[in-house]
């Protein structure tokens, strides 16, 4: 997700490794590059600045722990600061539905950010929690916007009402609310038209809608590819409409997602969910720690853990992903992420060299080339999130579907799963053996 940022941070911090002390000079130098990396990841200039300041303060003020190298210490500080900025560890990001029904959630945001799709995704999500859902479409402006929501609702079999053409959205909201209430909806998701924050009339419309509907939550839907404007958009929407949370969409791409940091940095709004695909199941609860782990990169964290283990027999830095691998819970999602990161990193020779032993052989044995990595990715892309997390459910018909979806043969899908299971076995073996000298990932940024 944040491949390039990860690579940069790692390259930069690697330079710090091996140095004895965190001096003001080398910290400042490293942080200059970290700032650059953050900016390239679209983190807002101001947010990047305060992030750097805070890391610097902590880095200089902290004692380098026994057996821990300065570089590791630094990564640890950056990592935890990033988690903090993204919302802190252990806080549940989920919308609280415990209020008296109907609980109304209103979605808003710029044009094309993903509101309508996300409304349908949330319907699926909450329904699986046993709630009766109703969808409310309040976009009479965009051609076929109501029809889009209606089709999605039909696909998932959820009651839906949309504003009529040329019906005032506020009137429509009131009308549909009473209809859905009468129909017994417990959670109502209100989809609104995309708008620019400079459009006073439309911003006022949202304000009156909010007053009339009195939603439990007003959620800003933001495209993860957003650049510096994330700050302007987020503060304009949240300032004007008292947003209570945000949803970040299109994280299935390779946007470095600095918008996530920016959004939190200026509005403090909790990011509740992330959209990771066009399918209606492609929604996940937001995890700050996971996100920070992604920013820093799983492989790197593992290699860090390895070094820390070598050095001191104990790591300060142990991100969720790294831990998952060590505990043998290495999913196909992790596998794909790894592939993506590797693909962006230079020649295949290097790439194979960086893979764990057995896997390395498995790959070289097959004379794998760049395009087969692309193929691996395509196959994993064609799986549902559930399948990626639990490949054991991949029966014949699922495998055929994946083959079709990715334009590959079933044999290739089978081969992929074999490679994956080998990798997973290694992770398990590793867990048994303990850490020292047996870590699966050779250091990646030497």
């Amino acid at each position: 997700m944040f491949d390039a940022l990860t690579a940069r941070l790692s390259t930069v911090l690697d330079r710090l490794r091996g140095r004895g002390v965190l001096s003001e000079e080398n910290v400042t130098e490293a942080l200059r590059d970290v700032r650059r990396a953050l900016l390239e990841a679209d983190v807002n200039v101001g947010v990047a600045r305060s992030f750097i300041e805070s890391v610097k303060e902590q880095a200089l003020g902290s004692e380098v722990g026994k057996g821990v190298r300065p570089g590791q210490q630094m990564i640890g500080i950056i990592h935890s600061e990033m988690i903090r900025l993204l919302g802190g560890e252990g806080n549940s990001a989920e919308v609280d539905l415990s209020g008296s029904p109907p609980v109304i959630l209103m979605l808003l945001g710029l044009q094309g950010s993903g509101k309508t799709t996300t409304a349908a995704k949330l319907a699926v999500h909450f329904r699986s929690g046993g709630r009766k859902i109703g969808l409310m479409g309040l976009d009479p402006y965009r051609p076929a916007a109501g029809e889009q929501l209606r089709r999605l609702a039909e696909r998932i079999d959820v009651p839906v009402e949309v504003a009529r053409e040329s019906e005032d959205p506020v009137d429509a909201g009131v009308r549909i609310l009473s209809e859905l209430k009468a129909a017994g909806s417990e959670v109502i998701l209100a989809d609104t038209a995309g708008r620019q924050t400079v459009d006073e009339a439309l911003m006022n419309e949202l304000a009156s809608l909010r007053q009339k509907l009195n939603p439990q939550e007003t959620l800003l839907v933001l495209d993860a590819m957003t650049g510096q404007d994330a700050v302007t958009t987020a503060s304009a929407f949240s300032g004007r409409l008292d947003c209570t949370g945000a949803i970040l969409t299109k994280l299935d791409g390779d946007a470095r997602g600095g918008a996530a940091l920016s959004l939190r940095g200026v509005t403090g709004l909790p990011i509740r969910y992330v959209g990771i695909g066009e399918d209606l199941g492609a929604l996940e609860v937001f995890h700050p720690d996971r996100m920070a782990g992604r920013i820093l990169g799983m492989g790197d964290v593992v290699s860090l853990v390895e070094r820390a283990a070598e050095d001191a027999g104990g790591a300060e830095v142990l991100a969720a992903e790294g831990k998952r691998f060590i505990e043998g819970e290495f999913t196909l999602e992790d596998f794909r992420e790894q592939m993506r990161r590797l693909r962006g990193m230079g020649s295949l020779q290097d790439l194979v060299g960086m893979l764990p032993g057995q896997f390395d052989r498995a790959l070289t044995g097959q004379e794998i080339d760049e395009s087969s990595i692309v193929a691996l990715e395509a196959m994993i892309d064609s799986m549902t999130p559930e399948e990626r997390r639990r490949p054991s459910i991949l029966d014949g018909s699922r495998r055929r579907r994946i083959a079709r979806g990715s334009g590959r043969s079933v044999q290739e899908v089978n081969a992929l799963l074999k490679q994956y299971s080998m990798m997973q076995k290694m992770a398990k073996a590793l867990k048994g053996k303990g850490r020292k000298g047996q870590m699966p990932f050779p250091p990646m940024f030497r």
Binding site: D42, L110, R155, A259, A378
Partner: protein
Amino acid sequence: MAHLRSRVALGLARTRDLLLTDVTDLFSGKTALTDDLLDELEDRLLEADLGVDTVMEIRDHLQNDLRAKKASGPDEVIAAMAEVIERILTPGVPPKEIGADLDGRPHVVLFVGVNGSGKTTTIGKLAHAYRSAGKKVIVAAADTYRAAAVDQLVVWAERAGAECVRSHEGADAASVAWDALDAAIAREMDVLLVDTAGRLHTHRGLMGELEKIKRVLAGRLEGAPHETLLVLDATTGQNALVQGEEFSKSVDVTGLILTKLDGTARGGVIVPLARKLDIPVQMVGVGEDLESLMPFDAHEFTAALLKQETA
């Protein structure tokens, strides 16, 4: 087009004010370009999504050029910035005007881009522009994936007075494109605009589908598609660079369209994009109605960005 121009100017006003105010404040009364001043300037440009490399280039330029000339007034600084930016944004070959002689009959234009960038809407606007120039236009609803994408395009086609070829949801996108080109040839249309589903460039399978659409068009009519336009949302940050590269790799993009310039986003990312890829920005979208499309003009864009009076 005058009113459209002022709308872009309005949309860019924030950037402009920001840059101008800051630059003016920063530099007025100063006699030397200090590093602090350059740092500040750098931040302002970064906030317009110009990206680190381009901003560095501008910084270097200012440093060398202005220091040599011992010049440091706000006008000189802005002029120097404008020079670099405009140079980057000026394509080798100027884009053709809508309504000028078209290659191919029908002239086939393929629209591509990530999800929600504004492809379908832009097709509506462009169909309208061609219709206004007296061309016979047909559109192909080759987004067979997204819910009601076809219905959306049908409305735009009606508004623009264009014909539309469609199939059912879930149909093969490439066959819709083929059928549409067939129809365009049979009905002697001047222009065929092909809408495609939004897709992230990271999804290999979907990029493959796009390549297939392009192949099929070329197979039906030599030289088609005559243009492949990548539609970019002005709010997009540095990811636009990868989008540009990846879509180019797949379908050889011939032009860019920058949408949603009527909002607060500045679209500054087209500067590094133009720097990296030699693809001209063709048009900009400045609203949600038929008229809100205008030709891109590097000089105007730069001037608006930096609030320098157009000569």
